[in-house]
């Protein structure tokens, strides 16, 4: 399917909204979780981070 065909989708706006919302929600939560983990890792001794 070409880019033109993608744009010519029926309900293209709804499809784009649903997919973009999914990426933003999951990506945003992933980024926030990683950031929280990095911040907390600085105040917890390495021996209590069993995975590292």
């Amino acid at each position: 399917m070409s880019l033109g065909a993608l744009v010519a989708m029926t309900h293209a706006g709804y499809v784009a909204a649903g997919w973009i919302a999914t990426v933003i929600v999951l990506g945003g939560y992933a980024a926030a979780t990683i950031r929280r983990g990095r911040r907390l890792s600085l105040v917890v001794p390495p021996e209590e981070r069993r995975w590292s």
């Binding site: 919302a21 990095r38 917890v44």
Partner: protein, 252 residues
């Protein structure tokens, strides 16, 4: 030269899961938006199914993990189960919200409305509110054991609600369609079924990656709280008895 200690929640396991997640999301996007055909009735709105159905399905799994971990905490009373229950509940909240959002966006072109007080939608909204309440309860300033007990009980109560959500389309007359794939008699086939399977696996790997990281963040929060409390107690003791502080620590 020494290797620096990593200051994050990452490990070889999460890095591998992260790579598989990215590949899975890419494959789902290509199959769902480009390769798979449009539906005869729903036309291209069917492409929303590849994000909506996996989100809702893994929401059930996250609720089940939360309930199991809550039950294990009530039995064992160890920190790990409580942290796992909290991580799974947060993921369930995220997936329930995503399911409601993508479902509404799908409902507008298919049903003509974003929202209707249908049994499936209403019970899902109630589950979302319960999960919000669970998060509020986890932040409630109470004695940690009492707070964990309250959240564990609420975690167990999420399961009947999730069952009502799942069976609502069978128990009541509902605008929402029945299960798309159930009891091996799928109402879709071919490339659409394959795309749905890929999206389901990809969302599962993403959820596993998120759950592991969120569990580790919860573990770090517990450790950080303990260290802060220990430091505050040591300060109090030293203030109350300065000679003991000098004798034990040498300096203040």
């Amino acid at each position: 030269m020494t290797t620096p200690t990593p200051t994050s929640t990452a490990s070889p396991l999460t890095r591998a899961l992260g790579i598989v997640s990215l590949v899975g999301v890419g494959a789902t996007a290509w199959l769902g938006l480009v390769a798979s055909p449009r539906d005869r009735l729903q036309q291209d709105a069917v492409r929303l199914m590849y994000v909506h159905v996996p989100a809702v399905t893994w929401m059930y799994v996250a609720v089940l993990v939360c309930a199991l971990a809550s039950g294990m905490w009530l039995r064992k009373r160890t920190d790990g189960w409580d942290v796992l229950a909290g991580a799974a509940a947060e993921l369930a909240l995220l997936l329930t919200g995503l399911g409601l959002l993508t479902g509404s966006v799908w409902g507008r072109p298919t049903w003509g409305v974003y929202w209707v007080w249908d049994a499936r939608l209403t019970s899902t909204a109630i589950l979302f509110v319960l999960l919000l309440g669970y998060q509020a309860l986890r932040r409630y300033p109470a004695e940690p054991q009492a707070r964990s007990r309250m959240t564990a009980v609420l975690g167990l109560l999420l399961v009947p609600n999730a069952m009502i959500v799942h069976f609502s389309v069978d128990w009541w007359r509902s605008l929402h369609q029945d299960a798309t794939v159930s009891k091996l008699d799928a109402s879709i086939e071919g490339l659409m079924l394959f795309t749905l399977a890929v999206s389901f696996v990809a969302m599962g790997v993403v959820c596993a990656w998120l759950l592991v990281h969120r569990f580790r963040v919860g573990w770090l929060e517990r450790s950080a709280e303990r260290h802060l409390l220990d430091a505050a107690l040591a300060d109090r003791r030293a203030d109350a008895d300065p000679s003991a502080g000098v004798a034990v620590g040498g300096t203040r």
